[in-house]
Amino acid sequence: MATLDLINLTKQFGEVVAVNSINLNVGDGEFLCILGPSGCGKSTALRMVGGFEDPSAGDVRIDGQSVITLPANRRPTAMVFQKYTLWPHMRIYDNIAFGLRLRRLSTGEIDRAVQGALQLVGLPTYGKRYPGQLSGGEQQRVALARALVLEPKILLLDEPFSNLDALLRVRLREELRAIQRRVHITTIFVTHDQEEALSLADRIAVMHKGQVEQVDKASNIYASPRTLFVADFIGAMNLLPAICQAGLLQLGAHHLAAPPSLSAGSSVTIAIRPEDLALVAQSDSAPSDTWAGSVLQLMDLGHYRRAIVDVPTLGQLKVYLSKSVMLNEGDSVQLTPMRYLVYHAHEAPLEMQQQAGEGVMVYR
């Protein structure tokens, strides 16, 4: 078992900096997701770990030892690619056995390992088939078996399920998680799908424009996104510009309590999750400013409802409501944020929370 460290890892393609000095430490047996929009450098970072791209600067260390001088075929890493990469002229058995044969193992050992790998991915009877006879999901499972059979120190997955349909994607995701737990292998999974990252990873590294914006547990990333990009990228978020004046944050014609540490005159961005916007009864005399608006759009999404509420001077806000709230499109509502984050310059956000009916207190 192994640890993986990326140290100031950088990749430049001509003038373009694809990966800009990223640092990541992945613990033994940890499942780390690198999450980011397309073109953020996440695949390039992964390919540098696998040895398919030469870093422009920085280091990749496995168990503390630098591997950047090793070519891809001598690194203790194994990769599952986004494309289907089973060799079409070989049977499934030979696809999996290919790497084992290179290691000059005995036929018996190879057979045992291949059967074990097929068993692991739930395709024990598929050895004699050709890749063309398998569905996309089955091919990616075999690709996983082919990677795992060599018992690599690090497992690398580059959006392996993004060519599959939604249902299959979810199923394979769960299988992958179970297999990874069973064999306890240090894993890096690259994806642009936040649901995939949130459900799979022990920790998530959010990448943007070649840089790692935040590395944390899924719940922490959701609750306190470190940067505005992460706030906007992960989950749904209402972002509102505001100015700090006299201990209050002025936004449009409304105001919110400002964190005490914030100096007057600074312009900030307020981030509010849709589920943190609470409906207040019209008659209720809430201590804090309430925002009057009208429901533009209501969407029933099964277990909850999503509303777009137009608040004059603030714009359209996303609000998640429980099914029990009786509302129609066009209704007037009053909103109040129960919890919000204040982003100022490039500092960590300040979190504000409103106790029910108690006004606003500084939380962190």
Binding site: G50, G51, F52, P71, A72, N73, R74, T77, A78, M79, F81, K83, T85, W87, P88, H89, F98, G99, L102, R103, A143, R146, A147, L150
Partner: protein
């Protein structure tokens, strides 16, 4: 509406299904004929245009006497087969042709296949232009090209020599041997090669065990087509080879030109036709994934 009318209508109602089904089959046939009329005409033209001349060659090869008003030969026989095949010049031309075709195909592969791999896998300035340049030899009247080359070859003492013929025939093979393998190599996804590197294979092993098997059908097709087209090549061999180097097609030209006896030409035509027919039938089995059409559509 009178009751009789209703009855009549009911009667027609009852008989209608049968009538329509008959009408339908007839109409369906007519529709097929109309839809396929282009195909049928094309088929007819093919029969007249291709099978016609070929069958004449067949007939002549087995004819001993064929006088004017008769539609078919008046005397059949294989006398001319024996006469033609026992000719000394044929005895030397056939092995020469086979040897030339093998050498030209081999040299062409040696030169073109690495080039095709480079075209497919590397990005270098002028790549597209270079690829197109191989079309040039096929875009101009070839005989003009040969004449100007012949002048150069004459100064180099290559006219009338086997190396001279090999060189001139190599030019013909370039397009096929570069374009088909280039598109075949391009068809191999780089990720497949990376996956093999990833499990520990060396670059050479990746090429031999992953890339090569996947392009083999297309390479086989290119090799066979090159062999066959070289075997048939007459213009270059005629201009550069004569008087010393006489390949089968050259011999056929001179026999047809110099002899009044049609049968010599017919027999040689059939002798030349047979190996290439067998090879092309073999190629057909190789042409998975339309390697040739893909190759020409780079």
């Amino acid at each position: 509406m009178t009751p009789s009318e209703t009855a009549e209508e009911q009667a027609t109602e009852a008989t209608r299904p049968k009538q329509t089904s008959v009408n339908l089959t007839l109409r369906a046939w007519l529709r097929v004929l109309r839809r396929e009329s282009f195909g049928l005409v094309a088929l007819l033209l093919l029969i007249v245009g291709i099978l016609g001349p070929i069958s004449t060659v067949f007939l002549w090869a087995f004819t001993e006497r064929w006088r004017y008003p008769s539609l078919l030969p008046t005397e059949w026989g294989i006398k001319y087969w024996a006469q033609t095949l026992s000719r000394a010049d044929i005895g030397s031309a056939l092995p020469l042709s086979i040897m030339l075709s093998l050498v030209v195909t081999g040299l062409s592969a040696l030169i073109c296949l690495p080039a095709a791999y480079a075209f497919a896998r590397m990005r270098f300035p002028g790549r597209q232009l270079l690829l197109l340049s191989f079309l040039v030899t096929n875009a101009f009247p070839r005989f003009g090209l040969y004449v100007s080359i012949a002048i150069v070859f004459f100064r180099l003492d290559l006219v009338g020599t086997v190396p001279g013929v090999i060189l001139i025939q190599l030019i013909n093979t370039l397009l096929l041997m570069i374009w088909i393998p280039t598109s075949a190599f391009q068809g191999v996804d780089r990720a497949l090669e990376e996956a093999a590197l990833d499990v520990g294979a060396s670059r050479l092993r990746v090429f031999v065990q992953i890339t090569l098997p996947m392009v083999l059908p297309a390479l086989g097709a290119a090799l066979l087509l090159t062999f066959v087209s070289t075997f048939y090549e007459a213009q270059g061999a005629l201009l550069i080879g004569l008087p010393n180097v006489r390949t089968m097609p050259v011999l056929m030209y001179s026999l047809i030109n110099n002899q009044v006896i049609v049968q010599y030409g017919a027999v040689i035509s059939l002798v030349l036709w047979l190996p290439s027919f067998l090879l092309l039938a073999f190629v057909q089995r190789f042409l998975r994934g339309n390697a040739v059409t893909a190759g020409l559509g780079v």
